[in-house]
Symmetry: C2
DNA sequence: TACGATTAAATCAAATTTGGTTATTTAGTT
DNA sequence: AACTAAATAACCAAATTTGATTTAATCGTA
């Protein structure tokens, strides 16, 4: 029986997507360098392959037809992260945002800044 | 080059762990039946294998030496879900709870009940 | 201008381990 | 012996990685 394809970005795909979201338009070589700086030392061909996969999945778009090809994000980081959060919500919390929120708030004392941020958002929703 | 091992419970492992957390002590056949009720119809051997994997990883413990073997959770659902949330936090939000909170709260208007729950927890942290 | 050499980048093919699944074999019980 | 449950072996696709090969671009020379 075949193993199901990941519904969301895999770990390595996400790392590369984050580089694009942080920097905008990049060549695969640029991406490779950024990853290396962040401690993930991959061969150029590895990165180029993963960028192509992201292209095929519609997460990045190609901006030039000349070499070196350049790519930029086709989806915002918000969209990407929201999908991943949704995935967690459905798998772990049965879709309940409240359960996740309670889980977050119950396990660690929030910093003053965090409490203020949360309070502000709560106030905005009244 | 090898495909890396999942850092946390895989999707199928999590489903089975959730059955144990919901019901307590179970045989693999029990688990299979519960999963089938929930729409995941797997062969007995599939479920038994995954239960064994959970045992080896320390998520369940065996409670009997006679057949049919019975198992119960060795970790709470809170612990399991916290690990998965931590994984998401580090992969997607650089470890920042605040970023996840903002992401959650920005995308959907909370119900009155949800706001009250959050407000209460906030107040308890002052 | 044309052609060959060189270099950089893209593409392709393959290797390896994992996750998911299940039939088959083994072991235990009646 | 028959039946049930556990353990094992095997299959398949996915994820990750990268070297080999191909392609494209550029440069130097005639």
């Amino acid at each position: 029986m075949a193993r199901p394809k990941a519904k969301e970005l895999t770990e390595r795909e996400l790392e590369i997507m984050q580089v694009f979201c942080d920097h905008g338009e990049l060549t695969p070589q640029d991406v490779r360098d950024r990853l290396a700086e962040a401690g993930r030392d991959l061969a150029y061909t590895t990165v180029a392959t993963l960028v192509r996969i992201l292209l095929e999945k519609g997460f990045v778009r190609q901006t030039t037809d000349e070499r070196p090809f350049r790519y930029e994000p086709a989806r915002s980081f918000d969209e990407v992260s929201n999908n991943l959060v949704n995935d967690l919500l459905s798998r772990v919390f049965g879709g309940s945002t409240e359960k996740l929120l309670v889980s977050l708030l119950d396990r660690k004392k929030l910093s003053k800044k965090e409490r203020e941020t949360l309070q502000r958002i709560l106030d905005e929703q009244k």
